[in-house]
């Protein structure tokens, strides 16, 4: 299954664009450079192919960047206006989150 197909079905309303995103620890990525394969360690039978855009977005998910920042950076690299692509990026991030590959960064409190 392609992640991009999933993205068209994803609901982006739950994606908090100001929140930082982080890769889940149980996710496995096979990087084929211009494309890749993602799956969860506990469900290797459900593998998703990722195109070059998805892999570019994936590389930017580092636990610090927010969805908005990721969209901005992709626009910068692609030399397009962020408005043209941001919805697609949010859809993609929403689908990655729905599939359990990424999650919101949880706040840690210092005691």
């Amino acid at each position: 299954m392609s992640i991009n197909k999933e993205a068209t079905k994803a609901n982006i309303t739950n994606l908090l664009k100001e929140k930082s995103l982080v890769k889940c620890s149980s996710v496995r990525v096979i990087d084929l450079f211009d494309e890749g394969i993602l799956f969860l360690n506990n469900a290797p039978q459900n593998r998703y192919s990722a195109n070059s855009t998805t892999m570019a977005v994936w590389d930017l998910i580092d636990g610090n960047r927010t969805s908005k920042e990721i969209a901005r950076e992709i626009a910068l690299v692609g030399e397009v206006n962020v408005i043209e692509i941001e919805d697609d990026i949010y859809e993609l991030l929403a689908s990655l989150r729905k599939l359990g590959f990424i999650e919101d960064v949880k706040k840690t409190t210092n005691t």
């Binding site: 496995r28 096979i30 990087d31 084929l32 450079f33 394969i37 290797p44 593998r47 192919s49």
Partner: protein, 405 residues
Amino acid sequence: MHEDNFILNAARLNLLEKNIAVLKKIPKQNIDWPLFEKKAFAHGVDTFIYYSLKNHNLSELIPPETYKKFQEHYYQVAYQNSVFLDEVNKLSAIIDDKIVLLKGMDLIQTLYPNIAIRSMVDIDILVDSEKDRDIWNKLKIHGFEEHDTEKDKDSWDKGITNGFAKSGLEVAKSSLHSTRLSNARYRHLPDLFNGRCHLQVHWNIFERPQFSVKTKMAWEKAIPINSDKKIFRLSNEFLLLHLCSHLYSHKHQFILLRMLCDINELILKQGSIIDWNEINEICTDSELKNIITTALTYAHILLNTPVPTDFVNEKLIIKKTNILDSLAKGNKRSSQFSNYLIILNSISKPADRIKYVFRTIIPVREWMNENYHTRSGIKLVMAYLKYWLFQLNTNIIKRGIRNVN
């Protein structure tokens, strides 16, 4: 014909202008696409074709459904190979000694740009020949089980196997047969399987026992590929020799185009640093030189691999129009008798040779019991008669009887 031409020009990492020109020139309506797919899959090069067409923006040269099938298999190979890589890491935790990765397991890490291009069915490792049994037994303690591949394949090996013992770990016609069988029949110990991958533990990278001294050289020259210096790869020269030798060993059964692609890509990538003088020195034995030259000539003729002229001899191979079909079918195999002579010649002591011949004619009782389900008395005598008749039929009259039972 067009299918072969398309495959031979597309099954490579980098397409040259002339390859692209040929691919574009082939009339697409004349290609039998189901046959094309079948051949590409059978030769293990569908992943190469997918990769090269995608990278050169030429995916429209094949039907979308074919492209999709190749793409799906490409992803499957990537996943399967990632499982193999995990298993290799586990192996290095089980085996305390140096291990050398062979064939696909090395190539996906050091030759190919990603792990989806080169499919494989098992992990091959070379270990110290002094410790091969210990390592094999240790792996069995750690979750691997002996896997009888003989049950799975209908190959000429069965003919040999029925004349000898199966694995060298079972009952043989004599202790000498057991050793010789393990020396000549196998370059590796019996296959292992742990539920996730098949593993072959090799002690020799060449097909002939007399070349095991070359394996020692390969062992010494192996290069570490990880920081703790436990996992190694063959030097480029020995890697090339091993790939050629492996291809030659399959010559009588089948040759996969993928085997030639490995040789082609290795020479294209490392050609400038491969020491051909060293290869020449290693190939002082004319039989080994012949093996290497045959494999390199195939690569040169089919894939236009740049091979030094002294390693090309077009007389060694038979050119046919449907070359991929003829590769897949293999050449006429050498007879069991000639294989027997090879084993016999590899025995150095004359007394052992006599014993070997004697025990071929009169195998030990345990072997007869095992193979003919006899115990003693007249049944045993009858079993010997049956055995001699079988040998007579197979090797002298050559009626092609395969099973002793």
